[in-house]
Symmetry: D2
Subunit: 302 residues, 4 copies
Amino acid sequence: MGIMRLGRVEARVLDLEKSIDYYSNVIGLQLMARENGKAYFKAWDEEDHHSLILTEADHPGLVHLAFKVRYEHELDEFEKKLENYGVRVNRISKGTRLAEGEAIRFELPTGHLVELYHEIERVGNGLKLNPDPYPENLKGIAPPQLDHLLIVGEDVEGATDLLMKVFDFHMSERIITLDGEKLLAVWLFRTNTPHDIAILKGPNGKLHHFAFTLGSWNDVLHAADVLGRNNVTFDVTPTRHGITRGTTIYFFDPSGNRNEVFSGGYIPHEDFTPVTWTEDQLGKGIFYHMRELNDRFTTALT
Amino acid sequence: MGIMRLGRVEARVLDLEKSIDYYSNVIGLQLMARENGKAYFKAWDEEDHHSLILTEADHPGLVHLAFKVRYEHELDEFEKKLENYGVRVNRISKGTRLAEGEAIRFELPTGHLVELYHEIERVGNGLKLNPDPYPENLKGIAPPQLDHLLIVGEDVEGATDLLMKVFDFHMSERIITLDGEKLLAVWLFRTNTPHDIAILKGPNGKLHHFAFTLGSWNDVLHAADVLGRNNVTFDVTPTRHGITRGTTIYFFDPSGNRNEVFSGGYIPHEDFTPVTWTEDQLGKGIFYHMRELNDRFTTALT
Amino acid sequence: MGIMRLGRVEARVLDLEKSIDYYSNVIGLQLMARENGKAYFKAWDEEDHHSLILTEADHPGLVHLAFKVRYEHELDEFEKKLENYGVRVNRISKGTRLAEGEAIRFELPTGHLVELYHEIERVGNGLKLNPDPYPENLKGIAPPQLDHLLIVGEDVEGATDLLMKVFDFHMSERIITLDGEKLLAVWLFRTNTPHDIAILKGPNGKLHHFAFTLGSWNDVLHAADVLGRNNVTFDVTPTRHGITRGTTIYFFDPSGNRNEVFSGGYIPHEDFTPVTWTEDQLGKGIFYHMRELNDRFTTALT
Amino acid sequence: MGIMRLGRVEARVLDLEKSIDYYSNVIGLQLMARENGKAYFKAWDEEDHHSLILTEADHPGLVHLAFKVRYEHELDEFEKKLENYGVRVNRISKGTRLAEGEAIRFELPTGHLVELYHEIERVGNGLKLNPDPYPENLKGIAPPQLDHLLIVGEDVEGATDLLMKVFDFHMSERIITLDGEKLLAVWLFRTNTPHDIAILKGPNGKLHHFAFTLGSWNDVLHAADVLGRNNVTFDVTPTRHGITRGTTIYFFDPSGNRNEVFSGGYIPHEDFTPVTWTEDQLGKGIFYHMRELNDRFTTALT
């Protein structure tokens, strides 16, 4: 019941051609379709038609993010819950975007458009009968799936409250001011992974990054090698997050949208006691090894 | 809502002293308490008082397995669901075992005792305020948590049906006869891991193994080194399962109960299309590299 | 000065076509040439024209092994040393085999033909000017280089004495009988790796395996996945050797010649104190985890 | 024959107590002795009495580096060779420093004191009879051995010429100016590892770093976790060098001497064709992922 996962991210890119090349050959996603100035991608282990939509625009950033719910009838239920919570909901008709069914859309207190949907064309991963563990001839980084995203906005408390109360998100980690009064950032999960969405205090409506799953620290090295070979701009080379314990690389797509590959971290359940970081330990929390933020971390937002 | 995870396993052991030494120093669990011929353990990243109970007995095997549900009131609800399904339910009073609250107990069609519970003493993992990613001075294999178990019984279909219908378990993988008519084994999940419980066709009430989570293939090597150094009897040295894609070692505790350490595999969601293995590909499914079962796999049961 | 490395192995194969497919696509070597019933391969990081020669024959096994010396004039010097030691030496003319210069040939007391050479066509690895760390689009296991071989024969002491006295090989490890009187196996090195050649007591002139270098335990898993996917027959799935400490897989080429991929181990120098294993600890020495030999280890020889 | 390895490094430290704590508990070396303001350490897999000497002083840096030669009589031979080359040689008597025999000492054109020695007390590694692959209860990073060092000086050409001509060092990599006329840095090897010593153009007599060997990229992560936990100052968090292909961390000891842990890279032989980097690709050569130097790389010298 409820939200199963972060199902898709729609991002604005400056040059669709260049971006298709990057997400196909460097990230190693599968280009599923291209039409009307949009490109649709899935990762190799995903069964739905797409999890990433690129839309050509004159500035980068996030168009919307969408959570997949388990049952179609939950769209109605969540519509009511959202309205009871005081949030206005719009319906997106089936077929508005390629391969997608109906969706409901609302705005988070941080100014981000969020959709919920159940229906999307199922294309499979080709590994369902006596399969090998992964396809041959993967190219680029080749993550198995979309993992999470980090959005930026002023009202971290408001967005967190909505996501936890309406959708039963659970908090895995949070950063608070030294006086304990303000939430500077929060990590939330629905799946048994350290985060499906995270929210950082800052200018409204901004995207910090979206991330793809990797299987191990060795895959992180391989990913860094792929990025190096392709002259991709790094934000942060391989390291560990204190927050989530995961290993990571931050880097930028050709439009300046920050991407992450993320591996590991704990396996939380609904009774997980959130981890608290105080503002003065922010550096250690974000980058456990270096223990300080670079300037870009809070300023390179799209 | 519902079952959050495999919360505990109670196993029979022949020599409690020797078993405590093994589970403390080789597996590297924390001995939380010992009383009345039982020993209680937790893994370092678990927040509940215990996930493994050892009970001294004259033969090895499984006493019971227990799933933790999210809310206390769900015990009543599941009691009704089980009774509607046609299963008799017993109540276990709070305090029957150390640190535990009330539980309900029933028998699976495969003859295994299953409990559901919510209340258990919370002891934490000590990593909740500006933490390092793991404790120092872990000993032995030191898995962060209990992962899953594999039970053996005649009525695989029946147990599967019950777990899926009453508790909303999802099927990740299954082995069927070549004619497609019979289920020989099934892997079921509630968490976003490839399995929380699996069932193999065979003599009723038997335990095949219970497993602990490891973070990577490198942790699998480290675990194998620890086992080698301690002269533990291996069933299978490090390899990959075709089923779940995870990497693994099977080995035996001093009483002959099979243990596993398990790492990796995919991250399934409720809409995951189950993977099907036909009987003739069983070897590849279980041990992807060697592609054949050893004799012990189906005979060394406790 | 002296022997730089195990430069090449010439192996007999039953079906050249099938073997070329296997060594090209599964092992992932580069087929450099094919002529007169022979195929010539190099690994991607080697600079010489070839390190493996396959020769079609009606039974598998080793034709010869060859060490590359640093200087051409050393052929004369080693010829004299060998003759002084009491070994008959033959000259192999330049051009006898493709791309090779002159060589000297002699027989070990274990009945194996050994060549020494300096001259061979240099083809490079393509990574000499501002290079990336490895080529793109490697296929199969893709080891960077040939590592070592293990030969079998009766007179382990004799062959060891010759290799140490004439060529300044150093002993890294040995297996002795419980009474300490006999050498059952010996590991010898010229490079700072745990072995360039090893000798096991058994029927004369036999090949136990030849091995390719891998960079890590993760590459070992990848190799095992490649072998599994291609239905290659395993002897031993991923494990650690007690001897050398390296991680390993043993498997068979289509003719039944045993191959190994080997990673890690220590970095010995000429003053390394040899490690001694007593016969009763042979199992632990060969397979550190399982701590027992399978039957094939001493019987599957070619 | 000749130099077997970088046998020891003597470094100046500001506070011996603090440095002993750091090299014992963070790096995880074994403190072998302490006397007269010096502390002597070995790594766990080394058989000689020490490979690192710390000497208390009012500024950090390198006192001397020393290569171990295979035979005692080579001291005389190298003394003559050095004098023929035009270098003045001093004798260091046995017993000048703890556990050491006689040595010869000379100055490199870059102003660094170099010693050659053969005799040193042998203490072993405790892993010579039916051993496990590594000791239990290692603490800190626990590298198996000293790996290499990088010194800084004006006359890179001169020091390189001496090391190659007198001691038969081989060049693995070099950085040249765009016009190809000047050597900006050079990597030299005697062992089959990518470097035993490297030289960077800069102020004379300076130390850039000395490095310890690690077995894998996973050990690099573990090392970074240990450094993070202990609040050690990083220069560069885990990444890959383009030069040598190895994976690495740079960080600073309590006195500001740069340390490195280094894993992997190729296995060169004496016929290895050196890799050339042009000045404009320096960033990629040093840090393959980020592809740019930080300011510290050329300025934080001791």
